[in-house]
Protein backbone atom coordinates (compact mmCIF):
# COMPACT_ATOMS: atom_id res chain seq x y z
CA UNK A 1 0.00 0.00 0.00
CA UNK A 2 1.34 3.40 -0.91
CA UNK A 3 0.71 6.21 1.48
CA UNK A 4 -1.03 9.23 0.06
CA UNK A 5 0.44 12.58 0.93
CA UNK A 6 -1.54 14.85 3.24
CA UNK A 7 -3.51 17.43 1.25
CA UNK A 8 -1.95 20.89 1.08
CA UNK A 9 -5.01 22.59 2.59
CA UNK A 10 -4.56 20.72 5.87
CA UNK A 11 -3.35 23.92 7.49
CA UNK A 12 -3.46 24.53 11.22
CA UNK A 13 -3.98 20.85 11.96
CA UNK A 14 -1.90 18.92 14.43
CA UNK A 15 -1.69 15.40 15.83
CA UNK A 16 -4.15 15.05 18.73
CA UNK A 17 -2.54 15.44 22.13
CA UNK A 18 -2.75 12.10 23.92
CA UNK A 19 -4.98 12.47 26.98
CA UNK A 20 -4.70 8.94 28.31
CA UNK A 21 -2.24 7.86 30.94
CA UNK A 22 1.12 6.54 29.89
CA UNK A 23 1.56 2.90 30.84
CA UNK A 24 4.77 2.10 32.74
CA UNK A 25 6.47 -1.26 32.51
CA UNK A 26 5.88 -3.64 35.40
CA UNK A 27 9.55 -3.97 36.28
CA UNK A 28 10.01 -0.20 36.45
CA UNK A 29 6.85 0.17 38.52
CA UNK A 30 8.07 -2.38 41.08
CA UNK A 31 11.51 -0.78 41.13
CA UNK A 32 10.04 2.67 41.79
CA UNK A 33 8.26 1.35 44.89
CA UNK A 34 11.62 0.65 46.51
CA UNK A 35 13.16 4.04 45.78
CA UNK A 36 12.01 5.98 48.85
CA UNK A 37 12.53 3.19 51.46
CA UNK A 38 16.06 2.57 50.16
CA UNK A 39 16.79 6.29 50.17
CA UNK A 40 15.73 6.51 53.84
CA UNK A 41 17.84 3.46 54.63
CA UNK A 42 20.85 5.02 52.90
CA UNK A 43 20.45 8.29 54.83
CA UNK A 44 20.19 6.37 58.13
CA UNK A 45 23.25 4.26 57.35
CA UNK A 46 25.31 7.26 56.22
CA UNK A 47 24.21 9.40 59.16
CA UNK A 48 25.13 6.72 61.72
CA UNK A 49 28.47 5.73 60.22
CA UNK A 50 29.57 9.36 59.80
CA UNK A 51 28.58 10.20 63.38
CA UNK A 52 26.00 12.78 62.37
CA UNK A 53 23.30 10.75 64.11
CA UNK A 54 24.44 10.01 67.71
CA UNK A 55 23.86 6.42 68.82
CA UNK A 56 21.66 7.47 71.77
CA UNK A 57 19.29 9.28 69.39
CA UNK A 58 19.04 6.50 66.84
CA UNK A 59 20.92 3.20 66.94
CA UNK A 60 23.03 2.46 63.90
CA UNK A 61 21.93 -0.13 61.34
CA UNK A 62 24.76 -2.36 62.56
CA UNK A 63 23.54 -2.27 66.16
CA UNK A 64 19.99 -3.06 65.07
CA UNK A 65 21.15 -6.01 63.01
CA UNK A 66 23.11 -7.14 66.08
CA UNK A 67 19.97 -6.99 68.21
CA UNK A 68 18.12 -8.96 65.55
CA UNK A 69 20.87 -11.63 65.57
CA UNK A 70 20.60 -11.85 69.35
CA UNK A 71 16.85 -12.37 69.17
CA UNK A 72 17.12 -15.00 66.46
CA UNK A 73 19.89 -16.82 68.34
CA UNK A 74 17.80 -17.14 71.51
CA UNK A 75 14.82 -18.24 69.42
CA UNK A 76 12.75 -15.41 70.88
CA UNK A 77 11.98 -13.72 67.55
CA UNK A 78 10.06 -16.71 66.25
CA UNK A 79 8.24 -17.21 69.55
CA UNK A 80 7.35 -13.54 69.84
CA UNK A 81 6.07 -13.31 66.27
CA UNK A 82 4.03 -16.47 66.70
CA UNK A 83 2.49 -15.32 69.97
CA UNK A 84 1.64 -11.87 68.59
CA UNK A 85 0.44 -13.35 65.33
CA UNK A 86 -1.96 -15.66 67.14
CA UNK A 87 -3.42 -12.84 69.22
CA UNK A 88 -3.70 -10.48 66.28
CA UNK A 89 -5.08 -13.17 63.99
CA UNK A 90 -7.81 -14.28 66.40
CA UNK A 91 -8.65 -10.70 67.33
CA UNK A 92 -8.95 -9.55 63.71
CA UNK A 93 -10.94 -12.65 62.79
CA UNK A 94 -13.52 -12.00 65.51
CA UNK A 95 -13.52 -8.21 65.24
CA UNK A 96 -13.52 -7.94 61.46
CA UNK A 97 -16.14 -10.70 61.26
CA UNK A 98 -18.41 -8.78 63.59
CA UNK A 99 -17.74 -5.51 61.74
CA UNK A 100 -18.54 -7.20 58.43
CA UNK A 101 -21.85 -8.61 59.67
CA UNK A 102 -22.91 -5.33 61.26
CA UNK A 103 -21.81 -3.33 58.22
CA UNK A 104 -23.78 -5.52 55.80
CA UNK A 105 -26.86 -5.49 58.02
CA UNK A 106 -26.66 -1.74 58.44
CA UNK A 107 -25.97 -1.10 54.75
CA UNK A 108 -28.68 -3.39 53.44
CA UNK A 109 -31.69 -2.72 55.64
CA UNK A 110 -33.12 0.53 56.88
CA UNK A 111 -34.00 -1.07 60.20
CA UNK A 112 -30.45 -2.36 60.58
CA UNK A 113 -29.10 1.10 59.87
CA UNK A 114 -31.39 2.68 62.45
CA UNK A 115 -30.48 0.13 65.11
CA UNK A 116 -26.78 -0.36 64.48
CA UNK A 117 -25.35 2.80 62.99
CA UNK A 118 -25.81 5.22 65.94
CA UNK A 119 -24.26 2.69 68.33
CA UNK A 120 -21.33 2.08 66.03
CA UNK A 121 -20.78 5.83 65.58
CA UNK A 122 -20.69 6.22 69.38
CA UNK A 123 -18.38 3.23 69.72
CA UNK A 124 -16.12 4.69 67.04
CA UNK A 125 -15.73 7.87 69.07
CA UNK A 126 -14.42 5.92 72.06
CA UNK A 127 -10.67 5.24 71.67
CA UNK A 128 -10.26 1.50 72.22
CA UNK A 129 -7.29 2.19 74.48
CA UNK A 130 -9.74 3.84 76.89
CA UNK A 131 -11.33 0.41 77.31
CA UNK A 132 -8.12 -1.23 78.60
CA UNK A 133 -8.80 -0.69 82.35
CA UNK A 134 -12.38 -1.87 82.04
CA UNK A 135 -11.41 -4.97 80.06
CA UNK A 136 -8.68 -5.84 82.57
CA UNK A 137 -11.22 -5.70 85.38
CA UNK A 138 -13.53 -7.96 83.36
CA UNK A 139 -11.15 -10.44 81.75
CA UNK A 140 -7.97 -10.14 83.82
CA UNK A 141 -4.68 -9.70 82.00
CA UNK A 142 -4.65 -13.06 80.21
CA UNK A 143 -5.12 -14.01 76.56
CA UNK A 144 -8.85 -13.27 76.52
CA UNK A 145 -8.24 -9.63 77.38
CA UNK A 146 -5.68 -9.28 74.57
CA UNK A 147 -7.85 -10.88 71.91
CA UNK A 148 -10.97 -8.97 72.94
CA UNK A 149 -9.09 -5.68 72.86
CA UNK A 150 -7.82 -6.30 69.33
CA UNK A 151 -11.24 -7.55 68.23
CA UNK A 152 -12.93 -4.40 69.50
CA UNK A 153 -10.29 -2.26 67.80
CA UNK A 154 -10.76 -4.07 64.47
CA UNK A 155 -14.57 -3.88 64.46
CA UNK A 156 -14.86 -0.15 63.82
CA UNK A 157 -12.88 0.18 60.55
CA UNK A 158 -14.40 -2.99 59.12
CA UNK A 159 -17.88 -1.77 59.97
CA UNK A 160 -17.34 1.68 58.47
CA UNK A 161 -15.82 0.45 55.21
CA UNK A 162 -18.29 -2.37 54.74
CA UNK A 163 -21.21 -0.02 55.34
CA UNK A 164 -19.76 2.39 52.78
CA UNK A 165 -19.10 -0.43 50.32
CA UNK A 166 -22.58 -1.90 50.66
CA UNK A 167 -24.11 1.54 50.26
CA UNK A 168 -22.01 2.06 47.15
CA UNK A 169 -23.26 -1.08 45.39
CA UNK A 170 -25.25 -0.18 42.31
CA UNK A 171 -28.86 0.17 43.52
CA UNK A 172 -30.13 -0.90 40.12
CA UNK A 173 -28.25 -4.18 40.26
CA UNK A 174 -29.60 -4.85 43.76
CA UNK A 175 -33.09 -4.01 42.53
CA UNK A 176 -32.72 -6.45 39.64
CA UNK A 177 -31.42 -9.17 41.99
CA UNK A 178 -34.41 -8.62 44.29
CA UNK A 179 -36.57 -9.08 41.22
CA UNK A 180 -34.97 -12.50 40.73
CA UNK A 181 -36.11 -13.45 44.19
CA UNK A 182 -32.86 -12.88 46.11
CA UNK A 183 -33.34 -11.51 49.60
CA UNK A 184 -31.50 -11.31 52.89
CA UNK A 185 -28.42 -13.48 53.22
CA UNK A 186 -28.63 -14.85 49.68
CA UNK A 187 -28.72 -11.32 48.29
CA UNK A 188 -25.75 -10.35 50.46
CA UNK A 189 -23.66 -13.35 49.47
CA UNK A 190 -24.51 -13.41 45.76
CA UNK A 191 -24.52 -9.70 44.93
CA UNK A 192 -23.69 -7.27 47.70
CA UNK A 193 -20.53 -8.76 49.22
CA UNK A 194 -18.74 -9.44 45.91
CA UNK A 195 -19.53 -5.90 44.79
CA UNK A 196 -18.34 -4.41 48.10
CA UNK A 197 -15.20 -6.54 48.12
CA UNK A 198 -12.78 -3.72 47.21
CA UNK A 199 -13.92 -1.80 50.30
CA UNK A 200 -13.85 -4.87 52.51
CA UNK A 201 -10.28 -5.70 51.56
CA UNK A 202 -9.29 -2.08 52.16
CA UNK A 203 -10.86 -2.42 55.61
CA UNK A 204 -8.91 -5.62 56.21
CA UNK A 205 -5.66 -3.74 55.63
CA UNK A 206 -6.66 -1.14 58.18
CA UNK A 207 -7.81 -3.83 60.65
CA UNK A 208 -4.43 -5.52 60.42
CA UNK A 209 -2.54 -2.31 61.15
CA UNK A 210 -4.95 -1.41 63.96
CA UNK A 211 -4.26 -4.85 65.43
CA UNK A 212 -0.57 -3.94 65.67
CA UNK A 213 -1.49 -0.89 67.76
CA UNK A 214 -3.70 -3.13 69.86
CA UNK A 215 -0.81 -5.53 70.40
CA UNK A 216 1.38 -2.83 71.93
CA UNK A 217 -1.34 -1.91 74.41
CA UNK A 218 -2.34 -5.51 75.15
CA UNK A 219 1.16 -6.92 75.53
CA UNK A 220 2.35 -4.20 77.86
CA UNK A 221 0.56 -5.96 80.66
CA UNK A 222 0.63 -9.62 81.66
CA UNK A 223 2.76 -10.83 78.77
CA UNK A 224 6.13 -12.52 78.62
CA UNK A 225 6.36 -12.74 74.87
CA UNK A 226 5.17 -10.86 71.81
CA UNK A 227 6.18 -7.87 69.71
CA UNK A 228 4.39 -5.48 72.06
CA UNK A 229 6.27 -7.02 74.99
CA UNK A 230 9.52 -6.36 73.11
CA UNK A 231 8.58 -2.67 72.80
CA UNK A 232 7.94 -2.54 76.55
CA UNK A 233 11.29 -4.21 77.27
CA UNK A 234 13.18 -1.82 75.00
CA UNK A 235 11.58 1.09 76.82
CA UNK A 236 12.29 -0.29 80.29
CA UNK A 237 15.97 -0.99 79.62
CA UNK A 238 16.39 2.04 77.38
CA UNK A 239 17.80 -0.04 74.52
CA UNK A 240 17.84 2.17 71.45
CA UNK A 241 18.78 -0.77 69.19
CA UNK A 242 15.73 -2.76 70.31
CA UNK A 243 13.46 0.27 69.89
CA UNK A 244 14.54 0.64 66.26
CA UNK A 245 14.33 -3.10 65.72
CA UNK A 246 10.70 -3.06 66.88
CA UNK A 247 9.94 -0.26 64.45
CA UNK A 248 11.60 -2.24 61.65
CA UNK A 249 9.61 -5.35 62.56
CA UNK A 250 6.38 -3.35 62.50
CA UNK A 251 7.31 -1.83 59.15
CA UNK A 252 8.06 -5.25 57.69
CA UNK A 253 4.82 -6.66 59.10
CA UNK A 254 2.95 -3.77 57.47
CA UNK A 255 4.61 -4.55 54.16
CA UNK A 256 3.79 -8.24 54.51
CA UNK A 257 0.14 -7.50 55.24
CA UNK A 258 0.01 -5.21 52.21
CA UNK A 259 1.48 -7.82 49.89
CA UNK A 260 -0.81 -10.45 51.37
CA UNK A 261 -3.94 -8.38 50.78
CA UNK A 262 -2.77 -7.49 47.29
CA UNK A 263 -2.45 -11.17 46.55
CA UNK A 264 -5.93 -11.81 47.92
CA UNK A 265 -7.26 -8.90 45.84
CA UNK A 266 -5.80 -10.40 42.69
CA UNK A 267 -7.36 -13.78 43.47
CA UNK A 268 -10.69 -12.53 44.81
CA UNK A 269 -11.33 -9.77 42.29
CA UNK A 270 -10.38 -11.15 38.87
CA UNK A 271 -12.65 -8.59 37.24
CA UNK A 272 -10.47 -5.73 38.42
CA UNK A 273 -7.75 -4.66 36.05
CA UNK A 274 -10.01 -5.31 33.08
CA UNK A 275 -11.58 -1.93 33.56
CA UNK A 276 -11.13 0.34 30.56
CA UNK A 277 -12.87 3.56 29.64
CA UNK A 278 -14.86 2.60 26.59
Amino acid sequence: MTLQAVRPDAVGLEPPEYLGSAGRSRALSIGLRFVVPFLLLAVWWYGSSSGRIPADVLASPGAVVGALRELIATGQLGDFLLASGRRAGLGVLVGAGAGLLLGVASGLSALGEELIDPVMQMKRAVPFLALVPLFISWFGVGETFKIVLIAVAATAPMYAYTYLGVRGVDRKVVEAARGFGLTGIRLAVAVVLPSALPNILMALRICLSVSLTGLIAAEQIGATEGIGYLVTLAQQYYRSDYMVLCIAIYALLGLTFDLLIRGVERLAMPWHGHVAAR
Binding site: M1, L3, Q4, A5, V6, R7, D9, A10, V11, G12, L13, E14, P15, P16, E17, Y18, L19, G20, A277, R278
Partner: protein, 261 residues
Protein backbone atom coordinates in the same frame (compact mmCIF):
# COMPACT_ATOMS: atom_id res chain seq x y z
CA UNK B 1 -30.72 2.44 -8.78
CA UNK B 2 -29.41 0.27 -6.05
CA UNK B 3 -26.97 -1.44 -8.38
CA UNK B 4 -25.55 1.69 -9.91
CA UNK B 5 -25.00 3.16 -6.47
CA UNK B 6 -23.18 0.08 -5.31
CA UNK B 7 -20.90 0.32 -8.32
CA UNK B 8 -20.28 3.97 -7.71
CA UNK B 9 -19.35 3.15 -4.18
CA UNK B 10 -16.89 0.48 -5.24
CA UNK B 11 -15.29 2.97 -7.60
CA UNK B 12 -14.98 5.68 -5.04
CA UNK B 13 -13.93 3.63 -2.04
CA UNK B 14 -10.24 3.31 -2.95
CA UNK B 15 -9.85 7.09 -3.35
CA UNK B 16 -11.77 7.89 -0.22
CA UNK B 17 -11.40 11.52 0.60
CA UNK B 18 -9.82 12.78 -2.60
CA UNK B 19 -10.86 16.34 -3.42
CA UNK B 20 -13.07 15.50 -6.42
CA UNK B 21 -15.50 13.73 -4.10
CA UNK B 22 -16.29 16.94 -2.30
CA UNK B 23 -17.44 19.04 -5.25
CA UNK B 24 -20.98 19.31 -3.92
CA UNK B 25 -19.97 19.29 -0.30
CA UNK B 26 -20.18 22.19 2.11
CA UNK B 27 -17.07 24.26 1.73
CA UNK B 28 -15.82 26.31 4.65
CA UNK B 29 -12.29 26.12 3.25
CA UNK B 30 -9.75 23.55 4.10
CA UNK B 31 -9.58 20.36 6.01
CA UNK B 32 -10.71 19.66 9.55
CA UNK B 33 -9.31 16.15 9.84
CA UNK B 34 -6.66 14.39 7.83
CA UNK B 35 -5.78 10.75 8.38
CA UNK B 36 -3.19 8.74 6.49
CA UNK B 37 -2.36 5.07 6.88
CA UNK B 38 -3.97 4.79 10.32
CA UNK B 39 -3.49 1.39 11.95
CA UNK B 40 -4.66 0.14 15.31
CA UNK B 41 -4.85 -3.39 16.67
CA UNK B 42 -6.05 -4.81 19.95
CA UNK B 43 -4.00 -7.94 20.44
CA UNK B 44 -4.31 -10.01 17.27
CA UNK B 45 -7.41 -8.11 16.12
CA UNK B 46 -6.75 -5.33 13.65
CA UNK B 47 -9.61 -2.83 14.01
CA UNK B 48 -8.19 -0.13 11.76
CA UNK B 49 -6.11 -1.53 8.91
CA UNK B 50 -4.39 1.49 7.44
CA UNK B 51 -7.23 3.86 6.67
CA UNK B 52 -7.06 7.23 4.90
CA UNK B 53 -9.69 9.89 5.56
CA UNK B 54 -10.11 13.60 4.91
CA UNK B 55 -12.93 15.55 6.48
CA UNK B 56 -13.69 19.05 5.21
CA UNK B 57 -14.37 21.89 7.59
CA UNK B 58 -18.09 22.04 8.26
CA UNK B 59 -18.71 18.57 6.89
CA UNK B 60 -21.10 16.26 8.75
CA UNK B 61 -19.77 12.76 8.53
CA UNK B 62 -21.51 9.65 9.84
CA UNK B 63 -19.57 6.51 10.56
CA UNK B 64 -21.50 3.24 10.34
CA UNK B 65 -20.31 -0.26 11.01
CA UNK B 66 -21.11 -3.46 12.86
CA UNK B 67 -20.24 -3.65 16.56
CA UNK B 68 -16.56 -3.95 17.33
CA UNK B 69 -15.34 -2.68 13.97
CA UNK B 70 -13.35 0.21 15.34
CA UNK B 71 -15.72 3.14 14.79
CA UNK B 72 -15.42 4.23 18.38
CA UNK B 73 -11.68 3.51 18.35
CA UNK B 74 -11.28 5.89 15.42
CA UNK B 75 -13.28 8.52 17.29
CA UNK B 76 -11.20 8.03 20.43
CA UNK B 77 -7.99 8.42 18.44
CA UNK B 78 -9.32 11.71 17.03
CA UNK B 79 -10.16 12.79 20.60
CA UNK B 80 -6.68 11.82 21.83
CA UNK B 81 -8.04 9.17 24.19
CA UNK B 82 -6.34 6.34 22.38
CA UNK B 83 -3.03 6.12 20.54
CA UNK B 84 -2.68 4.71 17.04
CA UNK B 85 -0.12 2.03 16.28
CA UNK B 86 0.85 3.63 13.00
CA UNK B 87 -0.12 6.44 10.68
CA UNK B 88 -0.67 10.19 10.63
CA UNK B 89 -3.63 11.85 12.31
CA UNK B 90 -4.10 15.61 12.02
CA UNK B 91 -6.91 17.46 13.80
CA UNK B 92 -7.63 21.09 14.67
CA UNK B 93 -6.86 22.28 18.20
CA UNK B 94 -10.49 22.74 19.33
CA UNK B 95 -12.23 19.37 19.52
CA UNK B 96 -14.99 18.22 21.80
CA UNK B 97 -16.71 14.92 22.36
CA UNK B 98 -20.23 13.89 23.32
CA UNK B 99 -20.38 10.31 24.51
CA UNK B 100 -23.18 7.78 24.64
CA UNK B 101 -23.67 8.60 28.33
CA UNK B 102 -23.82 12.26 29.38
CA UNK B 103 -20.73 11.89 31.63
CA UNK B 104 -21.68 14.85 33.82
CA UNK B 105 -19.99 15.48 37.15
CA UNK B 106 -22.81 14.57 39.53
CA UNK B 107 -21.35 16.69 42.34
CA UNK B 108 -21.56 19.95 40.35
CA UNK B 109 -24.50 21.94 39.08
CA UNK B 110 -25.46 21.99 35.39
CA UNK B 111 -23.82 25.36 34.71
CA UNK B 112 -20.56 24.28 36.38
CA UNK B 113 -20.65 21.15 34.25
CA UNK B 114 -20.98 23.21 31.07
CA UNK B 115 -18.12 25.53 32.05
CA UNK B 116 -15.95 22.66 33.28
CA UNK B 117 -12.33 23.75 32.89
CA UNK B 118 -13.24 27.12 31.38
CA UNK B 119 -12.62 30.53 32.99
CA UNK B 120 -15.41 32.34 34.84
CA UNK B 121 -15.88 34.60 31.84
CA UNK B 122 -17.37 31.63 29.99
CA UNK B 123 -20.54 31.80 32.12
CA UNK B 124 -22.47 33.98 29.69
CA UNK B 125 -21.58 31.75 26.75
CA UNK B 126 -22.53 28.70 28.80
CA UNK B 127 -25.94 30.17 29.60
CA UNK B 128 -26.43 30.90 25.90
CA UNK B 129 -25.42 27.33 25.03
CA UNK B 130 -27.89 25.99 27.60
CA UNK B 131 -30.62 28.16 26.07
CA UNK B 132 -29.68 26.87 22.63
CA UNK B 133 -30.20 23.26 23.67
CA UNK B 134 -33.53 24.21 25.23
CA UNK B 135 -32.44 24.17 28.85
CA UNK B 136 -32.82 27.82 29.75
CA UNK B 137 -33.04 28.18 33.52
CA UNK B 138 -31.49 24.78 34.26
CA UNK B 139 -28.11 26.23 35.25
CA UNK B 140 -28.59 25.67 38.98
CA UNK B 141 -30.11 22.20 38.65
CA UNK B 142 -28.21 19.11 39.77
CA UNK B 143 -27.41 16.52 37.07
CA UNK B 144 -29.16 13.76 39.04
CA UNK B 145 -32.48 15.59 38.71
CA UNK B 146 -32.36 15.62 34.89
CA UNK B 147 -33.95 13.12 32.54
CA UNK B 148 -31.74 11.18 30.14
CA UNK B 149 -32.53 13.51 27.27
CA UNK B 150 -31.94 16.63 29.36
CA UNK B 151 -28.61 15.31 30.63
CA UNK B 152 -27.53 14.60 27.07
CA UNK B 153 -28.52 18.15 26.12
CA UNK B 154 -26.25 19.43 28.87
CA UNK B 155 -23.45 17.30 27.42
CA UNK B 156 -24.19 18.86 24.05
CA UNK B 157 -24.11 22.37 25.52
CA UNK B 158 -20.82 21.53 27.25
CA UNK B 159 -19.39 20.56 23.85
CA UNK B 160 -20.85 23.57 21.99
CA UNK B 161 -19.68 26.22 24.43
CA UNK B 162 -16.10 25.35 23.48
CA UNK B 163 -16.84 26.38 19.89
CA UNK B 164 -15.36 23.17 18.45
CA UNK B 165 -13.85 22.94 14.99
CA UNK B 166 -14.47 19.21 15.19
CA UNK B 167 -17.39 17.77 17.12
CA UNK B 168 -17.05 14.09 17.92
CA UNK B 169 -20.33 12.30 18.63
CA UNK B 170 -20.01 8.74 19.95
CA UNK B 171 -23.50 7.24 19.60
CA UNK B 172 -24.92 10.22 21.49
CA UNK B 173 -28.55 9.16 21.00
CA UNK B 174 -28.19 5.42 21.56
CA UNK B 175 -29.32 5.48 25.19
CA UNK B 176 -32.35 7.72 24.60
CA UNK B 177 -35.93 6.69 24.02
CA UNK B 178 -37.23 6.83 20.45
CA UNK B 179 -39.12 10.12 20.82
CA UNK B 180 -36.31 11.92 22.61
CA UNK B 181 -33.91 10.57 20.04
CA UNK B 182 -35.85 12.17 17.20
CA UNK B 183 -35.93 15.50 19.04
CA UNK B 184 -32.22 15.30 19.79
CA UNK B 185 -31.39 14.46 16.17
CA UNK B 186 -33.32 17.52 15.08
CA UNK B 187 -31.54 19.66 17.66
CA UNK B 188 -28.11 18.41 16.62
CA UNK B 189 -28.89 18.99 12.94
CA UNK B 190 -30.03 22.52 13.72
CA UNK B 191 -27.05 23.34 15.96
CA UNK B 192 -24.53 21.93 13.50
CA UNK B 193 -26.12 23.86 10.63
CA UNK B 194 -25.75 27.05 12.71
CA UNK B 195 -22.24 26.56 14.11
CA UNK B 196 -20.83 24.46 11.28
CA UNK B 197 -18.22 22.40 13.04
CA UNK B 198 -16.93 19.35 11.23
CA UNK B 199 -18.85 16.46 12.79
CA UNK B 200 -17.95 12.81 13.16
CA UNK B 201 -21.03 10.88 14.25
CA UNK B 202 -20.50 7.26 15.21
CA UNK B 203 -23.81 5.42 15.08
CA UNK B 204 -25.47 2.05 14.56
CA UNK B 205 -28.59 3.68 13.24
CA UNK B 206 -28.60 3.79 9.44
CA UNK B 207 -31.63 6.05 9.32
CA UNK B 208 -30.00 8.49 11.70
CA UNK B 209 -26.91 8.59 9.50
CA UNK B 210 -28.88 9.27 6.32
CA UNK B 211 -31.03 11.85 8.10
CA UNK B 212 -28.17 13.92 9.50
CA UNK B 213 -24.99 13.42 7.51
CA UNK B 214 -23.50 15.03 4.41
CA UNK B 215 -21.38 11.95 3.94
CA UNK B 216 -21.66 8.38 5.23
CA UNK B 217 -18.82 5.93 5.66
CA UNK B 218 -19.19 2.25 6.45
CA UNK B 219 -16.31 0.67 8.35
CA UNK B 220 -15.92 -3.08 8.01
CA UNK B 221 -12.97 -5.32 8.84
CA UNK B 222 -10.79 -2.29 9.49
CA UNK B 223 -11.48 -0.58 6.17
CA UNK B 224 -14.02 1.80 4.69
CA UNK B 225 -16.21 -0.23 2.33
CA UNK B 226 -18.54 2.68 1.57
CA UNK B 227 -17.85 6.40 1.24
CA UNK B 228 -21.03 8.00 -0.01
CA UNK B 229 -22.21 11.59 -0.19
CA UNK B 230 -25.86 12.08 0.76
CA UNK B 231 -27.41 14.34 -1.86
CA UNK B 232 -30.76 15.08 -0.32
CA UNK B 233 -32.32 18.42 0.57
CA UNK B 234 -33.01 19.17 4.25
CA UNK B 235 -35.20 18.52 6.07
CA UNK B 236 -34.95 14.96 4.88
CA UNK B 237 -38.05 12.85 4.50
CA UNK B 238 -37.52 9.23 5.39
CA UNK B 239 -40.23 8.18 2.97
CA UNK B 240 -38.47 9.86 0.06
CA UNK B 241 -37.48 7.05 -2.40
CA UNK B 242 -33.94 8.42 -2.53
CA UNK B 243 -33.74 8.25 1.29
CA UNK B 244 -34.96 4.65 1.16
CA UNK B 245 -32.41 3.81 -1.51
CA UNK B 246 -29.57 5.17 0.62
CA UNK B 247 -30.80 3.22 3.60
CA UNK B 248 -30.94 0.01 1.57
CA UNK B 249 -27.47 0.57 0.21
CA UNK B 250 -25.93 1.04 3.65
CA UNK B 251 -27.85 -1.84 5.20
CA UNK B 252 -26.73 -4.18 2.44
CA UNK B 253 -23.11 -3.09 2.89
CA UNK B 254 -23.49 -3.69 6.61
CA UNK B 255 -24.50 -7.23 5.80
CA UNK B 256 -28.17 -6.88 6.80
CA UNK B 257 -29.51 -8.45 3.64
CA UNK B 258 -33.06 -9.06 4.80
CA UNK B 259 -33.71 -5.43 5.67
CA UNK B 260 -32.08 -4.19 2.49
CA UNK B 261 -34.45 -5.93 0.11
Amino acid sequence: MNDTRTEAVEDSAPNAGTPDLNVNGPTVNGLAVSIRGLRKSFGPKSVLAGIDLDIERGEFLALLGPSGTGKTTLLRILAGLERQDEGTVLVPPRRTTVYQEPRLVQARRVLANVTLGLPRSARAAALRALAEVGLEGYGRAWPATLSGGEAQRVALARALVRDPEVLLLDEPFAALDALTRLQMQELVAELCARHRPAVVLVTHDVEEAVRLADRVLVLRDGEFVVDERIDLPSPRDRNDPAFVAYRRLFLSRLGVAAAAH
